[in-house]
């Protein structure tokens, strides 16, 4: 008799930007949706994000972006995941992006991009549908 496995999501911001409203609000709403959120906060580097993701055995890494740093940091996080053979964790990103950057981010290895103003509902649904038991 196993308990229902909880989905674990790591939420964080990469780089120097300190706008953490989005990351905090999404974290709280994911918690309300019954998920366990590991909140790493702001000013993180790719290495510490991936290490935390490994230690915590999370199902999802969620990166919050604001200032246009997504094209710089996304490849670094993806590369760090690859180096550590983290190939079974969903990588999602949320924030302010030009439409044309979304295919580029997906090409780099983001599984799903949520643009500013998306409803959290869509994030919750996506995670529930894509995290495998």
């Amino acid at each position: 008799m196993a308990t229902i496995k909880k989905i674990k999501v790591l939420v964080t911001k990469v780089g120097l930007d300190g706008h953490d409203r989005g990351a905090k609000v999404v974290s709280s709403l994911l918690k309300e949706a019954g998920m366990e959120v590991i909140y790493l906060g702001m000013f993180q580097r790719p290495e510490s994000i991936v290490k935390a993701a490994i230690d915590e055995d999370v199902d999802v890494i969620g990166l919050s972006y604001l200032s246009g740093e997504h094209l710089i940091f996304t490849p670094k996080v993806v590369e760090e995941m690859r180096k550590n053979n983290v190939d079974d964790v969903l990588l999602i990103a949320g924030g302010t992006f030009p439409a044309e950057d979304i295919p580029a981010m997906e090409e780099m290895g983001i599984d799903k991009v949520f643009r500013a103003g998306s409803l959290t509902e869509s994030i919750v649904d996506y995670i529930n549908d894509h995290v495998e038991e």
Partner: protein, 328 residues
């Protein structure tokens, strides 16, 4: 799909110190998956040597920043450190917001430190049992010190702290009245009382209160007398920190005491007894409910109690007689 390694293979990687194997095995025992027992049987021979340090106290007392500094001290001694941080789950959604890692950032790049956040979700076997298993896995991973941090709210969390060899209770000045109220509880579990934020007003008064409470307590001849250590764990400059070295020294002193007086044997005996009790309680319940499953009896018993045709004690006696005694 998470990669499937055999349980045995995962355990041998764990024993080699592999953090991904540790992470996976912890998830497995946390979720009480089917091979949970097998994992624990394989892991058990490699446990029992680590020093287990418990840290508890109210929210905002500074437990995580203290933990962060203590990790640093143990790392200076070349010891590998595992940390379990327990935080409450939402009783409504079952979700949790686990943010303590933010305060444990000094070691985010150190491979000798393994940190795991745990939500206090409704574990079938109880929070303490799940935590005990997580600690065992961290021991088997090769960590010489395992720190367990809990919010110290509720019996469940006090039980968790019971597994620790050395238990720190963190309080802050101005908690004067709370300290009065907590006195009995603190005396029971604290080996060391940390008076954190000792740069705030009211520090001296709190210090007197705590020391007064301790000297008023009665201790057996030669027994460990709980110490009070004032600290300042949050400072903008390292040189403004206070009491961290003293705290580390007091912890070491308590460890020496445990070994010298052979009190550690008693501690270990108590811990295993408690662990065993928990597992018994849990497994027996599982066996019984499994036995009742599909018979419609469970509902019948519950309804008979509600309708006051029966009482819980008589029901338990009857069930035990039916399902357990024949096996004797």
């Amino acid at each position: 799909m998470k990669k499937k390694l055999s349980t045995g293979e995962m355990v041998s990687r764990l024993l080699a110190g592999d953090r991904r194997a540790a992470a996976r095995l912890i998830t497995l025992v946390e979720n009480e998956m089917d091979d949970h027992h097998e994992v624990m049987s394989l892991v058990y021979p490699y446990t029992g040597k680590a020093m287990i340090l418990g840290i508890t106290g109210a929210g905002g007392a500074g437990k995580s920043t203290l933990t962060d500094h203590l990790i640093g001290k143990f790392r200076e001694q070349g010891k590998k450190v595992g940390v379990v941080v327990v935080d409450p789950s939402s009783p409504f959604s079952g979700g949790a917001f686990l943010g303590d890692r933010i305060r444990l950032q000094s070691h985010s790049q150190d491979d000798g430190v393994y940190i795991r956040s745990m939500a206090s979700r409704g574990y079938l076997g109880g929070l303490s049992r799940a935590t005990y298993d997580v600690i065992r896995i961290m021991e088997a991973m090769g960590n010489e010190v395992v720190i367990v941090e809990t919010l110290g709210a509720g019996q469940d969390e006090v039980d968790v702290i019971h597994i620790a060899h050395t238990c720190l209770v963190v309080v802050t000045p101005g908690m004067g009245d709370d300290i009065q109220a907590m006195k009995a509880g603190i005396m029971e579990i604290a080996d060391i009382i940390v008076l954190n934020k000792a740069d705030l007003d009211g520090t001296d008064r709190s210090l007197r209160h705590l020391q007064g409470a301790l000297t008023a307590g009665s201790f057996e001849e030669g027994a460990w007398m709980p110490r009070v250590v004032p600290t300042v764990s949050t400072a903008n400059k390292p040189e403004d920190l206070q009491g961290i070295d003293e705290l580390a020294a007091t912890i070491a002193e308590h460890q020496t005491y445990l070994r010298k007086t052979r009190a550690i044997d008693r501690v270990r005996y108590d811990r295993v007894e408690q662990e065993l009790g928990l597992i018994f309680k849990d497994e027996l319940q599982k066996i019984i409910f499994k036995g009742l499953k599909g018979t419609g009896k469970k509902r019948e018993y519950i309804n008979s109690i509600i309708e006051q045709k029966n009482d819980p004690y008589s029901v338990v006696e009857e069930v035990l007689n039916t399902y357990l005694l024949p096996w004797e």
